[in-house]
């Protein structure tokens, strides 16, 4: 097809749109009314003459008028919550009555719940639903990334903006102390293994969910309260995310092809400004002078330090950030075929993606195949299968926690240094010529990729022997193979003698056998449903790794060609859960709804006597608007309340309960054994009690809706790596100790507003969560690292820091013990809480929280005649960020790059500044302690995405013999409004909830520009 064939009409339409809608029509014409199935008028319904731009909007009485037309014509009537309706009209026709049929999608919206589904009206829990579609899909890799800012009560954070980086998803706060605070992911009934997607922590981890294909997803249900999640029992404390993939529908087959491509760019490079060479040299030499003077070193002393000069005086500084970043191109292609007959339905999907990150060597390649098929074999028997094969390769760059991390090693260089010698060879890091690792060398001379192959499959058969009774038996598997490969060739600083390969393999497989019987009947005004089931899931992992060194040349890149094998590991790990579960629900006239669930889980991770946990829940709903006394048919109102108990056993070792004598303690090449664990026979389930109350209300027939929930979640028997005195032989023991409380509110506002022909869909969500550790060992502070501590009464993740009290202005102010340690006027004054003159651990205090007071998102879609504009914001308010990255470039007189602001305003004498300390050579840590001057406000509003799309009208697509065509332009992460001076307040070096909010040099989330097209026929 020639491009011009569809560009012409498109241009014409665009023109019409731009110059406005012509209003001058002939008198007379068609007058009609629009009413719903109950006879109520539908104000705001739009009536359009098909194939033209002529339209009208129904008034408060549902009355509209269309100008007279010359030929026979068809009108299309649309109204939110109702099916579009067409009616043929003659040119001389003067009146018409339209009765709209309710759209079952709205009325009978079906919500997927654990082991089944429910009509929205019968849902008594806090369940959020997200349907990925053309309007809201982003350049995301994992399903959780898609949900960022979309769901009240859910926050999604990442370690960095590198492709495929590890994520932290929290639903209603952190309910556990152990690292694993992630919700349980269930894809088409298969609880996923969510171990890290990478095997070697390369300064950051990878998410294991990026391998999934997002375009296969039909809907994502987020089970937030215990009553909805408790059916998943012991794995549900942190919420459950149910992902349902697309199924075929009865009817003509549909083929859909979509492509988009674009560019990832490093966002807002100039947000952080480093000092230029002139400033740097001045500050450094001032630091040297201060040092020599303070230490009493004269030029004849071997310890005397000399000044430095810019060896490239007059030449421009190196653009270190430019050296490592690029605009990264990407392409996504999705193809799907869906269709079916009355008996057999199929969905076949395929996707391919190639993407470059903003750091030059960061890429991914991803391919997915999917087949869902189901068929009714006889009247009482049907069978089907959901199968998907997935592959992703991630070419990694070292993250912020590794010595070879690329971003930090670039921007930390002295501004005048060069990456390459005149000969083209690298300057080597850690020398006087280049003070940090050479980032060009780090990137070029190493190869690092992780390949994940993952098969998700289930086969099932449904038997319905009696009316209302259904028996489903299924077998499912989640099998994945991961290869993690790193090659430091002979030119890399980490190359050992002549190159080093660390190759790790993991095969992971989980088998799930499940039998579920369900029964559903209506007895008069009673709706009754019940379900009972049994499942057994066994997961085993087999790992091995090899550390091979010394290769003939960098061209040899397999472990087989190594001369030295410096290490090899291998292990097997298994665990299983056996479960019985049931649910019963009853509703009277859809007014009063009662649901109850029960689950019993037995886990191999605990000693036999502590193996079983029981997790009940009950919930109630009252559809007030169904009551006889309710006379506002345009308002739907439901109140809900629920209680449930859930458990958690994640984040603990498969054999944590047992005392063990471990192997591998070899000496002199003889095998040895040792006491590897004390074990804890009393280890048992961590449990949480959660209460939830909320209401759903919608006005004007669903045009405006409010969903509100308040909850309280108490966690008991927290699984905690209790620190122990090392005289016990170990520094910690896995224990059930302590309690925690989360409480909060969630609010979602939805609006579907028609302003003339303009349709505005908007959704705003807000969450507030408060976390408090209510008991642990005792009331003492437990310091976790330099930035965080746990204390009863405080939040998990609370910052624990020294307090910055300004700058010592006179030597006389410096307390004696600090003076002895080298503190002088111009150095930082840390608050001495116990007043003993010594700054030590006793002088740290709980300084703030990394968790926001409120956070959420606001999405908007404006539609007019095929044009669409989507604008999506995310925000968080009140979260503090510890800017760890700043500790480097604010050490004035140290050998690294410095921040321009600090280099220009440092302390020069009494009264000069109370913020920026003096430069001092030989950094001895005294001015960059982990203190409140690096604890900054991370509140932000982010323009997360802007989409501009055009859907070709049906008269044009019909001409083109296709069903639909959509073109769009999208930008992501276009603006960040925040006082935080770093690149990205949302990137955290750790995703552990007790250690979050520390921002090091993680690569910030990219700004994305893309162009795409979706065609269906």
């Amino acid at each position: 097809m020639k491009l011009t064939t569809f560009l012409k009409p498109a241009a014409a339409l665009l023109l019409v749109f731009l110059i406005g809608i012509p209003h001058a029509y002939a008198q007379g014409g068609l007058t009609g009314t629009v009413k719903d199935d109950l006879g109520a008028p539908c104000p705001g319904a739009t009536v359009q003459v098909k194939g033209t731009s002529v339209y009208a909007v129904a008034d408060l009485d549902g009355v509209f008028t269309i100008p007279a037309q010359n030929d026979d014509y068809v009108i299309t009537v649309s109204f939110i919550g109702f099916k579009d309706q067409e009616a043929a009209c003659a040119p001389d026709q003067q009146s018409i009555n339209i009765v709209l049929e309710p759209d079952s999608q709205y009325l009978d919206e079906v919500v997927v719940v654990g082991y089944g589904s429910q009509r929205r009206e019968l849902v008594t829990n806090a369940i959020s639903k997200f349907k990925p579609n053309d309007d809201n899909i982003r350049q995301a890799l994992s399903p959780s990334e898609l949900l960022q800012g979309r769901v009240a009560g859910m926050t999604v954070g990442t370690q960095s903006g590198n492709l495929g980086t590890a994520e932290r998803v929290s639903i209603r706060g952190s309910a556990s102390l152990k690292a694993s605070n992630e919700p349980l992911y269930v894809v088409d009934g298969i609880p996923l293994n969510n171990e890290s997607g990478s095997l070697y922590s390369y300064g950051e981890d990878l998410s294991s969910l990026t391998v999934l294909n997002l375009s296969d997803i039909e809907s994502i249900e987020i089970l937030k309260d215990a009553a909805s999640a408790a059916i998943y029992g012991s794995r549900a404390t942190n919420g459950v995310i149910l992902i349902t993939t697309k199924q075929g529908r009865e009817g003509k087959g549909e083929t859909k092809i979509s492509y988009n491509g674009g560019v990832n760019t490093f966002p807002r490079k100039n947000r952080v400004k480093y000092a230029d060479s002139d400033t740097w040299v001045k500050v450094y030499n001032a630091g040297v002078d201060n040092y020599n003077a303070q230490m009493g070193y004269t030029p004849d002393n071997p310890s005397y330090v000399k000044h430095v000069m810019n060896p490239y005086q007059g030449l421009p500084d190196t653009d270190w950030l430019g050296l490592i970043t690029r605009p990264g191109m990407f392409h996504n292609v999705d193809v799907s075929f869906a269709g079916g007959t009355k008996k057999t339905k199929y969905y076949i999907g395929g996707a391919f993606r190639s993407e470059e990150g903003v750091i030059k060597t960061n890429d991914i390649l991803k391919a997915n195949l999917k087949v869902n098929v189901s068929s009714d074999l006889t009247k009482w028997l049907s069978a089907g299968a959901n199968l998907s094969g997935n592959f992703i390769q991630t070419n990694r760059v070292p993250g912020a926690n590794l010595g070879s991390t690329v971003l930090a090693r670039a921007v930390e260089q002295r501004p005048f240094d060069r990456p390459y010698k005149p000969s083209g060879a690298y300057y080597l890091g850690g020398t006087d010529e280049l003070t940090r690792h050479n980032p060009a060398q780090l990137m070029t001379e190493s190869t690092s990729y992780v390949r994940n192959y993952r098969f998700l499959g289930s086969v099932f058969t449904d038997i319905h022997p009696l009316k209302g009774l259904n028996l489903k038996v299924s077998y499912s598997t989640d099998a994945s193979y991961t290869l993690d490969y790193i090659y430091y060739n002979a030119n890399h600083p980490y190359c050992e003698d002549n190159g080093r390969i660390i190759e790790k393999n993991r095969f992971f497989i989980s088998h799930l056998v499940e039998t579920v019987a369900s029964y559903q009947r209506t007895f008069g005004d009673f709706d009754f449903n019940a379900m009972a089931g049994y499942s057994y899931q066994k997961t085993s992992a087999r790992n091995n790794s090899i550390d091979a060194q010394n290769f003939p040349s960098p061209s040899y890149d397999t472990v087989g060609t190594a001369a030295v094998f410096a290490g090899a590991t291998g292990g097997i790990s298994e665990y299983a859960i056996t479960s019985f579960f049931a649910r019963a629900g009853v509703a009277w006239k859809d007014r009063y709804v009662l649901n109850a669930t029960f689950r019993a889980d037995g886990s191999s991770r605990f000693a036999p006597k502590h193996r079983w946990g029981f997790f009940p829940s009950v919930s109630l709903g009252w559809n007030i608007s169904k009551e006889g006394f309710w006379d506002r048919s345009d308002i739907d109102f439901k109140v809900r309340a629920s209680y449930g108990k859930t458990g958690n056993q994640d984040g603990i070792n498969n054999y944590a309960w047992r005392a063990l004598i471990g192997g591998g303690a070899n000496y002199d090449s003889v095998s040895g054994i040792y006491a590897s664990s004390n074990g804890n026979e009393n280890l048992t389930w961590e449990t949480a009690d959660q209460y939830d109350a909320g209401f759903d209300i919608s006005f004007w027939k669903g045009r405006f809706g409010i969903i509100f929930d308040a909850y309280l979640k108490n966690t008991y028997n927290l699984l905690y790596e209790k620190p122990t005195a090392s005289t016990t032989g170990f520094t910690s023991i896995m224990t059930n100790i302590g309690t925690m409380r989360n409480y909060g509110v969630e609010l979602t506002l939805d609006g579907h507003i028609d302003i003339g022909p303009l349709k505005w869909d908007t959704s705003f969500n807000l969450s507030h969560n408060k976390n408090r550790l209510t008991s642990l060992l005792d009331d003492n502070i437990i310091s976790l690292n330099d930035y965080h501590a746990l204390q009863v009464g405080q939040e998990v993740g609370a910052f624990y820091l020294y307090k910055f009290d300004g700058i010592y202005q006179y030597d006389g102010e410096v307390p004696e013990p600090q003076y002895e340690l080298g503190y002088r006027a111009g150095d930082v004054k840390y608050h001495d809480f116990d007043g003993n003159g010594i700054i030590n651990d006793k002088d740290r205090f709980i300084a703030g929280s990394p968790n926001p007071i409120i956070s959420g998102g606001w999405s908007n879609t404006f539609k007019i005649k095929g044009f669409e504009l989507g604008i999506f914001f995310t925000y968080s308010y009140g979260n503090k960020v510890y800017a760890l990255w700043m500790a480097g470039p604010t050490r004035l007189g140290n050998y690294q790059a410095i921040l321009d602001e600090w280099g220009k305003h440092y302390w020069t004498g009494p009264g000069s500044t109370n913020t920026y300390p003096r430069p001092i050579y030989s950094y001895h840590g005294q001015n960059a302690k982990s203190a409140t001057n690096y604890l900054l406000d991370g509140s932000n509003i982010r323009l997360s995405s802007v989409t501009f799309a055009y859907n070709f009208p049906s008269n044009l697509t019909e001409k083109m013999k296709i069903k639909g065509l959509r073109l769009y332009l999208q930008g992501e992460n276009l603006a960040l409004i925040s006082r935080y001076p770093g690149w990205d307040p949302d990137s955290s070096t750790s995703v552990d909830p007790s250690l979050i909010g520390v921002n090091s040099y993680g690569v910030p989330r990219a700004t994305v520009y893309k162009l795409g097209a979706t065609i269906s026929f």
Binding site: L428, Y575, Y667, D668, A675, A725, S726, G729
Partner: protein
Amino acid sequence: MKKILYTILTLAVVTSCSKMLDFHPHSAVAPETVTEKDVPQLRVGMYWEVQELPQRTSYIIEDLLGGNCTAKNSTSTIALINNILNAQSEIVADAWQGAYKALYQVNNVYSIAERLPEGDLRNKVLGEACFFRAYIYLQLVTRWGDVPLLTRNTVDDVPREKAEKVWEQILRDLDSAIALLGDSADIYYVSRDAATALKARALMFLGRKAEAAVLAESLIAIPRYKLDSFENIFRNATNTETFFAFKCANEDKSNISISTLFYSYNHPNKGSYVYMPAPDVMTMFEEGDLRKEISITTLDGLNFINKYPSGQTGTDPFIVTRLAEMYLISAEAGGVERGIGRLNDLRNARGLESVYPMTEKAFQDAVMLERRREFVGENLRFTDLVRTGRAVNELGIQEYQQLLPIPEAELQNNSLLAPQNPNY
């Protein structure tokens, strides 16, 4: 139809059998299955654990605190010392926790080996366990003073014991080791001679110099041991000086990679270059000193400690005791009159002329300088200075800094450890 239902129900019941939740851990076994017959493997594990658990910085902490090193890009030793000497220091925590975690393994092996029938195996394993216990407590008591004393494992909190009691235990263990042990297969296993050498060192701390000298001389008298070249000691596995060294072998997956802390990436040995020799270490060797080249080196203006050459993730053996120390113990104990011979024996072997200091002070200064030259990078310096009362002056530290702080985490987890060592 019914048949299918029954089949499914039966399946459900059968599969729920509790055996399905029992798994064998594959890489470990339950302790109750470990018996006397496993002692040979437990013994190997004890060597590995005592070697590995203290982490690599524990093997150079005395050099870091003893003014032999500065941090990279600094010329000041006191800055590094002040940085390490605080209760939050990871280096201090690793040294303390490593010692006690290793002690746990030693005590465990000891209590199982006690059940062995009398015989060579029992003697050997108990002797080695006693040696290691003494080796661990020697580090603890000289660095921290009063410390918890355990000869049997317990999960209870243990208070600190007076240093004298700890010293009694050290000597008791060393005497047992000397009585139980014979010669060893090679330098990577503990022998009677290694125990004797460690006892000589311990006695010096207690000021029982004459007894130490007797032990030192008894070792010097053994014909098998001779002062050897640094090339042989630090570059070759075989030498005639070493009594005992941890093998820290790459093939055992040792993590004691000291080397990387000392070299930079432009040096062929490659490393992350965390510590460099102090300016006065670079100038302390006299002309002609055969030790210099193996002890320190310079490349492109950067200085390196050169005793551990394996490079970035490589590991080198760590020498716990060797003959040269016996010469210097004998010299120090003998004083200017009787000790000068041993001092000059060592100097001559290292390519240096004899010296003849006139006063006791000048002689003791010469011995200490020789100890510094001989053992730079061998983890002896800090407590040498403290033992001889030189630390405050030579290092510029405060009086209280002669004892290390107890790691904050330990104080938190065992309330009986309070109070902290003064001024921390």
